[in-house]
Symmetry: C5
Subunit: 355 residues, 5 copies
């Protein structure tokens, strides 16, 4: 369960901007990829280490996208920070993977923290990965916790001649990445929606004990998802109105679109929570209804047979002096009494609508 806060190596009271990695280490080796593009050409290079960055030049018209997979290497992050003049607090946030989604405007750049979600088909759990975007007009640095992301579509569009991405500044690239992450949330919601749908069918058909645990697990996922998405709303909202000049006016129009999607995602999560809480009620009421059925059957059986079993018991007694035993119609009479008793009980149960 990665749903609870985990103990990290950082000691309470440590200097705030000591650069140490906080969180689970998800990758062995850091991978650095540099994409250079302008309207005419695109090139992508894998860099060996931080040293390779020293020769990097920012020239007018060229846009750079520096993507780093793996944030456990504090030294690398620090050298990147020095190279591009990034505030120590930003670097600390990049290294600490337990950030909340947020957007912070600095003098020369805009810093955005996002959460990329992945559906782990093995454990059927949703995993979250922190994405940090540091946005300059002509440079975007993205930090991911591990390899594998939802940006393939974006890469494709960078590769395509004439795409908007190629024409625009890095704020548009930031939008494209944010949009890709948010769009991916819909896939997660679809998966959850399918789970909800099949759970609903099962509940109405024949609820088993496991249903409750599925409800519980889905609830957990929704609590987790909600915690990831709610702050996102504020982040994207600020991006559409931010005083920072990094996000230019035309891009803000696109960001407004992402904002609409975020609202829609939040709406859906809230609906799902409502639906799930309805499932719980449904499950409990079905369990309770079945208990009722079971108890009625028991009661009907007991109510009918216990009295006549007693009657049979009476005439099984061995008293010397029991006149009924010698009567000619004694046995038949007992049957008559017993059948009358049964009829009475059946009538009683029917009237009570138990049958």
């Amino acid at each position: 369960m990665s749903r609870y806060i985990k103990r990290t190596s950082k000691k309470a009271g440590a200097a705030p901007v000591t650069l140490v990695h906080v969180g689970e280490r998800k990758l062995d080796k850091t991978r650095i990829t540099l994409t250079t593009y302008d309207e005419k050409s695109t090139s992508t290079t894998a860099l060996q280490d931080a040293a390779a960055l020293s020769g990097l030049k920012r020239s007018a018209g060229k846009r750079l996208w520096l993507n780093i997979d793996g944030v456990h290497d504090a030294a690398l992050v620090e050298s990147i920070g020095k190279k591009f003049g990034i505030h120590p607090l930003t670097l600390e946030d990049v290294l600490s993977t337990r950030q909340r989604p947020k957007a912070e405007a600095f003098d020369t750049y805009l810093y955005i923290v996002l959460k990329m979600l992945k559906y782990d088909s093995g454990t059927r759990a949703i995993k979250s990965e922190q994405i940090s975007l540091i946005i300059f007009p002509d440079l975007l640095i993205s930090f991911q916790e591990s390899t594998g992301d939802v940006f393939d579509g974006v890469r494709e569009r960078i590769g395509k001649t004439g795409s908007t991405l190629r024409r625009e500044s890095c704020d548009y690239l930031a939008y494209a990445l944010t949009d890709a992450i948010v769009d991916n949330y819909f896939l997660i919601l679809e998966t959850l929606g399918q789970d909800l749908e099949s759970l609903e069918d099962e509940l109405i058909d024949s609820p088993r004990a496991e249903a409750m645990q599925t409800i519980h697990a889905l609830r957990h996922e929704l609590i987790f998802l909600r915690k990831q998405v709610w702050p996102l709303r504020e982040v994207v909202n600020r991006l559409t109105r931010e005083e920072s000049a990094i996000i230019r006016e035309p891009t803000r129009l696109f960001m407004r679109d992402v904002y609409d999607h975020t609202i829609q995602i939040i709406d859906t999560i809230e609906s799902y929570r409502d639906i799930l809480s309805g499932f719980l009620d449904l499950y409990l009421s079905i369990v309770s209804y079945r208990m009722n059925e079971v108890m009625k059957t028991l009661t009907i059986i007991a109510t009918i047979f216990i009295p006549i079993t007693f009657i049979a018991g009476v005439y099984g007694m061995n008293f010397k002096n029991m006149p009924e035993l010698d009567w000619r119609w004694g046995y038949a009479g007992v049957w008559a009494v017993m059948l009358t008793a049964v009829a009475g009980m059946v009538y009683y149960c029917k009237r009570k609508k138990w049958w």
Copy 2:
């Protein structure tokens, strides 16, 4: 269940303004209808295809209402967009039928997304259809997902000489369409109200297991309805105050009326939710009360007969040496003991108010 988000063809990370249809395709062929009206005359033509639009001229004093049924034809939407100078993001939203109700002001037009609800008497479910309105002062373009709408009343009024609709600009037409959609919500609420009323009668009369499922289904519908109507409130509110000049001051007064209706609808939905949650409590308490009744009966029967059955069992034993069996009043005595036991138990149950 169309209550959960469905997987769509759009790939996460795709270019945001690639025009592809997102959502269920509800119609085979797109139908284009053009209504031209001014104070003196009205004419309605069905257009064959997008090409027929090329000859369309906007002249002073004439108002145009272009209605398109079916939004799966991206090429058509694109050609309409080019013809009237509509922003690509708007076109993308028109094509994607999973929008949230919203109002967006652009330079030359106002874009409104609404949800038209239909009660499907077959599945007893409420269906939602997305309506997009693009409003220019002298032109209104409406996109619907399929044929069949709630605008017949509006069409009638356009046809009537001297009606306000004929005199006013297209913002008034937009109001009339919005009003028709919102008015239609009341019909949906009435249907739900009737379902709630008959469910209430049934619950108080004799709750069956199905009642719980009806409660569950109604709850689902209300969650769905709520998700459609809540954002509408914000949309209509903005229309009454919007800085955009498309909606003129006198029309805003009418929009305020629609806003009042929206608030009333939201109030009613919230009341229904409250009522439904009361039904759930009622159902559960009735089930629990009946269980109680059943258990009491079982306990009374068992409490009375189990002890005397034991007594009968004792004298059914075959021990050689059982003096009671030979006593003259043994049998009568046993009856006396048993009746005393019964009387005691009955008294006990009465005192506990179980009877």
Copy 3:
């Protein structure tokens, strides 16, 4: 149950300001009463029909209160509207009795919709009647759905020489009417309070199945009441601050008093809801506790007698070769065994605190 929205005759999509009555018709004939008053004199006349209004003159210093009982007569409302220059949207709202309480400022008048509540002692239900007030400085027109209202106190004060009402403009009359309606809500709350109190006594004393239905009914009434009162708060609040010049500064001070009452009523309704939800918990826990008691008794009886009944059964078997049966102390021994078993079971139940 008038708690659910009812189908009305108005067709969705109809022209918004077609004047037709929407809602239940509660009265056969419309009654028009005109009260003319100034500081010195008061006179009240019953008018036959709308025609009688044509001669009506508004002179300085005279105030007019025109009260109409019954709003189903669209023609009458329309002719009044024309006579006094009232906006068609206002007239439509007067005719539609499913309005939400609201206050709307027009150029020459202020329009207020209020809900007058009546406790129907027959069905023990609260009924709501729509009151529309159209306020000019020297004229107040009030529309009621049927005869019978809570304004007798106001009429009395108009009749009394030297009362404030006689001295002040019609905004003070509007205040007096609003105050009378809001004060009447306290009576409704008292009635509900008494019902709650006797329900509480009953619940603690001996809860019966009907208690649950009473809880349910009261909850219904509270949901209904809440829906009526919540918007009132906003209405009265706006009257104390409204930019419209109709309500003059001194009257606003009095309106602030009405506002305080409204807040108090809302507080009380919320408290009642809390209390009622506590009753539900109490009821369910009592039912559950009683169930527990019943089950304990059953279990004690069964636990004690089932084993010894088995023992008696064993020695009721007819095997040839059952040595115990021939033992001299066999019978006494069995009793000893059985009593020991009983003692053991009783001890067990006592230790478990079931007894």
Copy 4:
């Protein structure tokens, strides 16, 4: 139960500022106490009646505190009102003891309504008494419903030479009185806290049926308390920021302190509500767990003995032709079968973890 709104003598529709007492009459005779103090001296006089007030003079440097116990005497309140120029609406509010805490600024004075709480050790209920403060710079009039208050500490400090109270204007006295009332709330919360604590101990130790009623009663008290304290927050908040010049800047700093206390009280009440709702869950789960235990025992007993009782019953039948009865090891064999059955059942119950 004084928790529900009570019918009062005031008729709906009566003139708003007719001065009549509204509420329960708690005192036979009104008591008027006048305290005159300045930096050098203090004197306290009991006044016989309103007439004694006529000679009262307000001189510079002297501060007056006029305290009236008992507000049923409308004539007295009216004469005080006339003497000091108090608005009729204020007088009406003083007389009506069902006010909500509020602060209203008038031209020459500030009017505050507060609720003084008392713990009635007899009925273990919290009682509320309305305190009205009318504050002039050099005069404070306080109205209480009955004798006995929490102001003894304040009186002591007025008596003490050199105390801040003696030096400051009447706004500081108002602060001192408000502070005394709010401080007293902590005592009420402590009492409730002790009740909660002992209830918790009892619940965990051995919950009895009464626990539920104690939970219910405490919940009632908290709902009541909440209704008293919530509006107080707004009142005190306004006093710290009020545009009225009555409360001077230095006193506002002290009022901010009272505001902090009010927030703390509200926090505590909300915590208590949370805790109480936890108690309810705890109680219900314990009851349900015990039921479970009881049912398990019943089931184990029944499951073990019912089958073997049947076997014994079979061999108690009197058929002529029952070969087993004549077998040499028949009886021993039956015992063997029965013991095997018992062993099987015990194993089954153990596996199900019922034992």
Copy 5:
């Protein structure tokens, strides 16, 4: 249980700024520690008593951190207050350990109240200790209730040459202390997270009665934690925007970081509450499901054996005239009847899916 408000020695109505200690006395002797530091050197001295402070000089460039462990010594606090010109209300708040976290700007200093949490491994409860910070540009006075805190990291950094702490004014020290306290909250949340995790495992594996009490205890801790942390959010938020000049602009950037942490802590607490409420549902549904299982078994056993036991009972009767007893295949026939009955009952139970 320190979760409820405790009676304190302060009498309601006492003068507000009488300096008396309010709260539990946690320490025998007060400990005063003075740390003097500038960019070049640091020195820490333990002061004997308040008298030792008299010689204290504030010189430019030197920063002083005066830490007092133990706040029960009112005289000491008062003499510190006089020495540094601190407002009596601040001193009163320092002495009263039942404050809510808050920030108050005074003319020359900023006063912050924080709550330091400690996990008491003995009682497994979270304890709260009040920390008061009085911040001047060149002096920070911190009051703690007892010895032992989370500031060791801060002390270390003061001791380190070249650390930011050494260079900056006392507002940065205040930030460092606040950060240390807030960081420590994460440790508390981790401990709670571990408890939640192991509780979840236990619940899914085999819920015992104690689980409910653990849920209850954790809920209690969360309510307590929430009450401590919620106001903190407002405090830190004000520190990032405060008009007071004490916190300088660069430090505010760091405070924004603390604010982010606070939001994250609140998010986590709310998630934990959600999760815990899910545990409660899970526990109750598992208990209810097990009850169901138990009842089904009982019903199956009873349903199968009660009827056939009756049949056996019938032929155990001793009537003279019972023809079946003499039939050759009577005994076999009874077995046949009984087996048929069993088969029927088994079929019935199977069809009802009880088996």
